[in-house]
């Protein structure tokens, strides 16, 4: 479940200590942009010890430096043996980038006697090339279980200007979510940059949820609960969905494939959607059936 993934810098011990207390489904510990060039080595070492010491109650995702830097390999050499759940490669342009990272992780896993392939990849697509290759990238490694859109670098690469309306990244969002859904993996949206504008955050999050994204990145702890709420079925939606599923099961046993509940008709895909709603709600809220 990746309703929210929250970023924090790897170089700050206080942030590492409490990374998982804000309710984000995943924490993204950043060795890339949030770690200054002069602190790359110390951040890596600090992160290694944090992963050995803390037992996070969230998916642990490590954002590594891009292939165009001298640091990505050292990031993997230091971090892969600590068995994070997921590695987030950055500035991914082509499937070959993913293949190189996959091979490197596989080598390190083998050298350390680890189960090969257990560490997942959540590539950050933040270049025009990356967006155009989204589908091929999604298929480049079986480790990949999601695609994540990075709008700030993308805007830089495209010479675009980020606006509140976000029209400039509408194509990128559509392209990424379509690729992800084609392959059957997660689609995670870029963070909302106005950290205390919760109204704006909720508005944008509803839009991307409606587009098909299943989660959004957060760059401030206060954003997490808003994002989680939007990507979670409400109790009311759950009750309606349960009623539809129940009615459909009854109808199916009577040889019918369509059911009308509350004046609304459900069949085929609509039934799949309500079943997903029931399953999601019960998983999020620990409902035992």
């Amino acid at each position: 479940m990746r309703r929210s993934i929250m970023f924090l810098p790897a170089a700050k011990p206080g942030n590492l200590l409490n990374a998982d207390v804000y309710g984000a489904d995943g924490i993204v510990i950043d060795l890339e942009d949030a770690t200054a060039i002069g602190e790359k080595d110390s951040a890596r070492i600090l992160l290694k010890h944090a992963l050995r010491t803390f037992h996070y109650n969230a998916e642990v995702i490590i954002r590594i430096n891009s292939l165009s830097t001298p640091w990505w390999k050292a990031d993997l050499e230091m971090i892969v043996p600590e068995k994070p759940d997921t590695i987030m490669p950055t500035k991914v342009y082509t499937p070959n980038d993913i293949r190189l990272i996959d091979e490197t992780i596989t080598r390190i896993e083998t050298e350390h006697g680890m189960e090969v392939g257990k560490i997942r990849l959540l590539p950050l697509l933040e270049t025009a090339g990356g967006i155009e290759h989204a589908y091929e990238i999604a298929l480049a490694s079986p480790r990949i279980d999601g695609l994540y859109l990075g709008a700030v670098d993308l805007a830089l690469d495209m010479k675009a200007t980020l606006t509140d309306e976000s029209y400039e990244i509408a194509y990128a969002r559509s392209r990424l979510v379509t690729a992800a859904r084609t392959v059957g993996i997660d689609a995670i949206d870029t963070p909302y940059l106005q950290v205390r504008n919760y109204e704006g955050l909720q508005k944008v999050t509803r839009i991307v949820k409606n587009m098909g994204f299943n989660g959004k990145a957060c760059i401030y702890p206060g954003q997490v609960s808003y994002v989680n709420a939007i990507f979670s079925p409400t109790a009311e939606e759950y009750e309606i969905a349960k009623a539809v599923v129940s009615a459909f099961n009854q109808a199916e046993s009577e040889g019918r494939g369509v059911v009308v509940v509350g004046g609304k008709m459900y069949d085929g895909p609509a039934i799949t959607i309500v079943r997903n709603t029931v399953e999601e709600y019960e998983r999020i809220n620990g409902v035992r059936t």
């Binding site: 200590l17 409490n18 207390v21 804000y22 010491t53 702890p221 809220n285 620990g286």
Partner: protein, 474 residues
């Protein structure tokens, strides 16, 4: 205009018949801006008196003069509810032969009334007074709001001197403490800097950790079975405690309920709740910023109360006994839920119960809150350094990593578990913190007792010992 007016503080001291060995008292409503305690005590020193006991409802940053007055023997005793770090450091290093007496805000007026803590001369700062000694804290350029702590001093001291920088025509209105109690009135240039009353917190914190803890604490209240129409609420003055107001509003909106009253020290955040209609009344012992001062002056729903009315647990009744829920900070808490708010991680005095112990005892639901780790020190210890508020008054302890419920409240524990809150044993929180930060070395103390801590009932809760400077980190 003459009335009880005398020319100077010195003349008032002479007329009151101060002698070596006597006790003089002060309130701390002007907090870090108080000019009256230093003015009077320096005059007492100049006049050659020694062996004086200072009875003050609180000793704050503006009272640093006491360090030198202790050194040269002018002050040999302190009876108070709170001591901030400058004077606290001196006392923790053993500067006084007699231990400081720490009381609670509610028990201090009781001890004064029954003669356990007698006062010879009360020097009462008033932001407005007339020549007969009618006084208040809401008028004049140095208005500081409620005079709650001064009522007992005025009523029971053998002599009462009113000190004001705003002498008005007789009769003053409104009156907080009336002329029956006053012996002398002194007009001075300034009673202090009113900006010093600020507790330092004027807006809900943006600190994500504090907000997370505050949110969890409000969830505890919301699911406690006590979150009902007409509840009475108090928060401590710390950033986490005050942050609960943000989440409390949302919870009240969700349930569509309103509270009867807010109790306590108040600031603009709490005044805002009153003005938005979330609560019907504020019962105010002290104002912690100028918004609160303005409110108590103009809003008749914002009521000044005495410290005894606030929280004298040995009286027939007091507002603290009617509290539904109180949210409090904790410097340390131990496996028995005892809370320390007197001494810091080095064993140095830098605080005191204030009303902590009273309201923790009085409330139906007492929630203590702290980050599990501050830097590398755990908030949960095997034993607190100082038992300020005893564990039987604390129902729940909330951290960012879980909620511990006092075993004496199994009913509450069940409710919180059923609500899906992250309930843990306090031992689990202790182990979590210990695994991350290790077990701290015992603090180095000598055998000398430098402070005695009395509870809401006037019973001795603990003693504070002198820090062994030869082994201490500070």
């Amino acid at each position: 205009m003459k009335g009880k007016l005398v020319a100077s503080v010195e003349e008032a001291i002479r007329l009151c018949g101060l002698k070596d060995g006597m006790t003089v008292s002060f309130h701390h409503h002007l907090r870090d801006g108080d000019g009256v305690l230093p003015m009077v005590m320096n005059k007492i020193s100049e006049m050659g008196f020694h062996d004086i006991t200072v009875s003050a409802s609180g000793i704050h940053g503006s009272h640093g003069c006491l360090v030198d007055l202790i050194k040269n023997g002018v002050v040999t005793g302190i009876d108070t509810d709170y001591i901030s770090k400058v004077v606290g450091l001196s006392i923790s290093h053993g500067s006084m032969d007699r231990p400081v007496i720490f009381r609670t805000h509610g028990n201090r007026p009781h001890a004064i009334a029954v003669g356990e803590s007698p006062i010879d001369i009360a020097f009462i700062a008033a932001s407005a007074a007339d020549c007969q000694g009618n006084m208040n804290g809401v008028s004049g350029p140095s208005a500081f709001g409620s005079m709650g702590y001064a009522f007992a001093d005025a009523a029971y001291a053998k002599k009462v001197v009113v000190i004001t920088d705003n002498l008005v025509e007789y009769p003053l209105t409104p009156i907080s403490i009336d002329e029956r109690y006053a012996d002398y009135v002194v007009a001075v240039d300034s009673i202090g800097d009113v900006n010093g009353i600020r507790s330092g917190i004027t807006a809900v914190t943006q600190n994500p950790m504090s907000l997370e803890i505050a949110k969890k604490a409000v969830s505890v209240f919301e699911n406690s079975g006590l979150f009902e129409e007409g509840f009475i609420y108090q928060t401590g003055g710390g950033s986490i405690s005050l942050a609960t107001t943000k989440f409390l509003q949302a919870a009240m909106d969700r349930k569509g309920i309103r509270g009867s009253a807010i109790l306590g020290g108040t600031n603009g955040l709490l005044v805002d709740l009153l003005e938005k209609g979330y609560f019907r009344k504020i019962m105010d012992i002290q104002c912690l910023d100028l918004d609160a001062v303005e409110s108590i002056k103009r809003n008749q729903e914002h009521q000044e109360i005495s410290a005894a009315c606030y929280a004298d647990m040995l009286s027939k009744s007091c507002v603290a006994k009617h509290l539904t829920c109180v949210m409090l900070g904790a410097t340390e808490i131990d496996l028995d839920f005892n809370v320390n708010v007197h001494t810091d991680s080095n064993g140095i005095i830098r605080g005191g119960s204030g009303g902590h112990t009273d309201i923790a005892h009085g409330a139906k639901l007492t929630i203590a809150m702290a980050p599990l780790l501050r830097q590398r020190r755990s908030a949960v210890l095997e034993h607190v350094t100082t038992k300020s508020t005893l564990g039987d008054s604390i129902d729940v302890f909330v951290t960012q990593r879980g909620i511990a419920v006092n075993p004496k409240r199994p009913d509450l524990r069940s409710r919180l578990v059923d609500a899906g809150l992250p309930v843990k044993e306090i031992g689990e929180l202790y182990e979590t913190a210990r695994a991350l930060a290790g077990k701290p070395d015992p603090l180095p103390f000598t055998d000398k007792v430098v402070g005695k801590v009395y509870g809401y009932d006037g019973q001795l809760s603990d003693v504070i010992r002198q820090v062994d400077e030869s082994k201490a980190a500070v």
